[in-house]
Structures are given as structure tokens and as C-alpha cells.
Amino acid sequence: MHLSLAVGLSALLFGTGVYGVLARRNAVAVLMAVELMLNAANLDLVAFDAWFKDNLHGGQVFALFVVVVAAAEVGVGLAIVLAVFRLRDTVAVDALTQLADRDPPARADTVASDSAP
């Protein structure tokens, strides 16, 4: 089969993931879009492994390692999302503006109210 089919699908999946990460405001949905990007990289690894006829099967083995890293990333990412939800009562990524540098009066209020526990 043609390699351009696989790499083209991978590029399309990656672009979809980029759109999802930028357009979603729920942190869990952002994590899903990150998974799409990781899978796009996996597809490339497997396709090039088959194309090179790699005797060590490096592409497929590293696809497995990417899966492992993705599992770890989702575990820690969801733990962070849960901690943020417990602290702020929201997981909307555009509502977490405490570190933003765009509204000086509101920021002064936030700092004043946050300094008291």
C-alpha cells in the first residue's frame, strides 16, 4: 500500500488534535485532543517501521513506548485537572486566569483576596 496514505492520515489527525487543544475549554476535552496528536505520531512510527522493513522493529516498539507515556500523561493530567477542580470548582481552561497579565485592577483584587487563606 502507498505510504502517503498513512502519513497523510497522520497529518490530518495531528491537525485535528491541534484544533481540539486550541478550541476546547474543558480540560478533559483538551486531554482527548492531546491523545489524538499522540496517536498521529504513533501511526507515523508504525507506517515507517513497515516501510523500512526494520529488523529491530524500532518503530513498533517505540509506538508501544508512546502508548506507555500517553497512559502516564493521562493519569497525571487527570490528577491535575481534579486538583484544579477541587481548588477552583471549574475545569474551564479560559477561566483559570490568575497567572494572566491582562487586567491589572482585577489582578490586584485577586492577589489581595488570595493572600488570605
Partner: protein, 180 residues
């Protein structure tokens, strides 16, 4: 255009359509379930590319574990179940969708033109390549990739401990005294 091309193209269409629904669905639970369809179709793509073991790992880990973890996360953060007004306060999409679409299209355009023009005539001979089944991949992992494998296990352990530490609720001495 061989049979493998046709099968791969059909699976790719399913995968891409499901991926688009993952990032556009107004319901986070529906998005997670479309993620299952996307990953299942991708596992089929891996099977066409002779990566048998990777396909089963994809089904077991991605569909079996990661999507379930996503669903748990959506429920624990009390994600809005049911369709939300687009762009509203409770909506899943932020206000920068046109910009995000532009960035996604630009990324796809750059990556797509680059890789397709680079590998225009490349042909994967899937009939004369060693099938990546459990025996072959196991031999490769434990013969040539032992160190990355061990590092991955330590990484998983560290992520496990980190996730527990992050989500653990601190119980103060007074609360413990109350319970006793």
C-alpha cells in the same frame, strides 16, 4: 490501488470523521465515545500495516484504559452532561475557534504537503515484511530495547505515585480525632 489501500482508506475515513467529532462534539461524554471509534479504526490501520501487537495494545490500553479514565475524569469534574449552547458559559468550546481552526489547518497543510511530497512514490510492501506479532515484538523489546523498557516502567511508577499524591485529600489531625 490494492485491497490494502482500499481497506486503509476506509478505516482512515472512519478514524478522521470520529476524530473531528471528538473535537467538535458539544457533549464531553459523546466526545469520549467517539474517541473509542477513532482509536478502534486506528487499530485497524495498524493491522493493515502488519503491526499486530501494537493494534491489540491500542485496543487494550487506549480503548480499555485511557478512554475509561477520561470518562472518570469527566464525571468527577461534574462535566456538563447533555448538549450545551455553543460559546455559552457552560459550553465545551472557547471563543477562539476560528483561530484554532486556522492553526489546525495550517499545521495539517504544512505537515501534509511536506510528508506527501517527500514520500510520494513510497510503497509499503506489506506482503513481504515480518508481521509484528507478540513473539517478534517481545524479542525486539527484550533483546534491543531493554533499557527504554525499564525506564518506561520507572516512569509509570512515578506517574502512579504522582497521581495519587496530587489527588489525595489531606486529612488534618483534628478531623482524624473527630472520626476516632
Amino acid at each position: 490501488m490494492t485491497g490494502a489501500d482500499v481497506v486503509f482508506a476506509l478505516l482512515g475515513v472512519v478514524c478522521l470523521a470520529a476524530a473531528v467529532l471528538v473535537v467538535t462534539s458539544p457533549n464531553v461524554i459523546h466526545a469520549a465515545l467517539w474517541l473509542v471509534v477513532c482509536f478502534g479504526a486506528l487499530a485497524g490501520c495498524y493491522l493493515v500495516l502488519t503491526a499486530e501487537f501494537v493494534a491489540w495494545v491500542q485496543v487494550l490500553i487506549y480503548i480499555g484504559a485511557i478512554v475509561v479514565l477520561m470518562l472518570f475524569g469527566a464525571m468527577l469534574t461534574r462535566a456538563p452532561i447533555g448538549p450545551q449552547p455553543a460559546g455559552g458559559a457552560g459550553g465545551l468550546d472557547s471563543g477562539n475557534r476560528p483561530l484554532a481552526a486556522l492553526a489546525g489547518l495550517a499545521t495539517t497543510g504544512v505537515l501534509g504537503t511536506l510528508v506527501i511530497s517527500a514520500f510520494r512514490g513510497a510503497y509499503v510492501d506489506i506482503h513481504h515484511t515480518a508481521v509484528g506479532d507478540g513473539r517478534v515484538i517481545g524479542a525486539a523489546v527484550f533483546r534491543f530495547f531493554v533499557l527504554p523498557f525499564e525506564i518506561a516502567s520507572v516512569l509509570l511508577l512515578a506517574a502512579l505515585v504522582g497521581a495519587i499524591v496530587l489527588t489525595r485529600r489531606e486529612v488534618s489531625d483534628a478531623e482524624q480525632a473527630d472520626r476516632a
